[in-house]
Symmetry: C2
Subunit: 301 residues, 2 copies
């Protein structure tokens, strides 16, 4: 119990202050409170959706829209929710005994520990399908929905996250090069972190050239995110991390820290975050925008 | 080895004769032979996609289009492939140790037995995402793609297949009423069998009234399909079924056969198939169409 409240204090700062997070969570909760859904499926889906995620991906998307001078509407929350659903479903499956076999996630029991393995598999599955229902039910133009659907599926399946997960597993216990590590993370974490950038470009009707530049920003940020994760795995405590630290070493994973050393990894992270800020400035996103604040939160001391 | 060849002889009759199946399988194979995909993911996905499925859902969709006087195009094969991918992914997850724990499917080793559990989870996952990429990459109108995406996600997630799967698991070992059994199958098998009917209506630009009638046809056929499954579970051999028979009794599942008796279940199946034919005739689908032949193949002696 103490762990959970401690975790809330650390991650809670952003969470409580941001009305976007509250609105997003309201949408997610309401969706899974539909009387049509069996409780045995909706409850585990809601459990993991509401387990204290930092909502980094939805926040990037929604704040980018504002940086592009758009007024954020319900439809945009639907896009944000779809993205968060897929991210959450992937965490549930990642934690399964056959995969990472984790008991804790964000300081709470993982889905299969709280419920059971079959339920966790199905809760993950439903969090992969429902986003496409939510997305295609929004009042965005049909052309925008098709583009977003294509990008979201691209980011998630054989072109993205799941492919990265397979490569990550295959690489365990092997001595990977930095290029191989980057390829894994480009897919596993990078694609879904790139989606908010590309999606914001699509919704804001940016030119193809601008959208491709946004894609590059997302890709670099995705790598930064992974480097940060590798750093925290060796520097953070369970309470700070909300999950068991030191697992990378235990599972003989090739990490940025293993390759670059702790200081080298920190320098690489700082470089990548600077590059992200530089590119965003070129896209007329000002450094007073919320986007910059989110990116600055990724810095480690 | 003998089992596999025997299974092929029985299911082979439809498979070899139908060019639609060959074209569909060509598309599915080609998709997963993309050089971009890691082999460790594409191979298991292809293994289950090519494990001798009867392609009932794609065939219903493609033959309905022809019954509606449409010329079948590549885009229609993309819709059919999307549907078959989700169906296949759901079988992979159904067979997992935490779920039905099956070693054989269609006379071949199940995905997690051929590969491993983590791979099977991820192969299923990718078969849930990729269809939305395929669908949104087709050259159908944006409005048609959005409608199809919405219906496909509706059929698969918390409104459909996954919800039915949760209810099915919760019902094991319990004495369910016929209404409860029907509710499970309406979701678990019914929704994805309804999709080809609704999707054909959408693609053929039928009126909303006609689309809703097509939905009813699909729902009834879905129940017929389940009744047939329950009958075969007690009457068929491993070789005929391609999987272990008698599992329903073993797992104390409430089945139509348990409720209606074997003869009662057979009568109910015949009734439902007649109703399907009657409704299709009202929708100007003639009894000389391929659709009728597919439906007649569902009859049991």
């Amino acid at each position: 119990m103490r762990l959970i409240s401690k975790e809330h204090k650390i991650f809670g700062i952003i969470r409580v202050m941001d009305t976007k997070i509250l609105k997003l969570e309201h949408f997610l909760t309401e969706f899974y409170e539909s009387a049509e859904f069996p409780k045995g499926l909706a409850e585990p889906a809601k459990y993991s959706l509401m387990a204290g995620g930092k909502r980094i991906r939805p926040l990037l998307f929604l704040n980018l829209l504002e940086a592009f001078d758009l007024e954020v509407t319900t439809a945009h929350y639907q896009v944000a929710a779809a993205l968060e659903m897929i991210h959450t479903g992937s965490l549930i499956h990642d934690d399964l005994p056959a995969m990472d076999n984790d008991d804790y996630r964000r300081g709470k029991l993982t889905n299969h520990k709280k419920f059971d393995e079959a339920t966790a598999i199905l809760a993950g599955d439903t969090l992969f399908f429902d986003p496409f229902y939510v997305l295609s039910s929004s009042d965005l133009s049909a052309q925008t929905i098709v583009s977003l659907t294509r990008e979201l599926a691209y980011a998630s399946g054989s072109y993205g996250m799941v492919a990265g997960q397979i490569l990550d597993m295959a690489g365990e216990g092997k001595d990977l090069t930095l290029t191989q590590i980057e390829q894994i993370h480009r897919l596993k974490t990078g694609r879904l972190l790139t989606f908010p950038f590309v999606a914001a470009g699509i919704v804001a009707q940016k030119t193809n050239q601008e959208i491709e530049k946004l894609r590059v920003v997302g890709q670099i940020l995705g790598l930064a995110f992974q480097i940060r994760d590798d750093i925290l795995d060796v520097t953070a405590t369970f309470a700070e991390l909300g999950k068991t630290p030191g697992k990378d070493v235990l599972e003989e994973k090739s990490t940025y820290v293993a390759h670059l050393g702790l200081e080298g990894a920190k320098i690489s992270l700082t470089d990548k975050l600077s590059e992200v800020k530089k590119l965003l400035t070129e896209l007329n996103v000002t450094d007073s925008s919320e986007i910059f604040k989110i990116i600055e939160q990724l810095e480690v001391e």
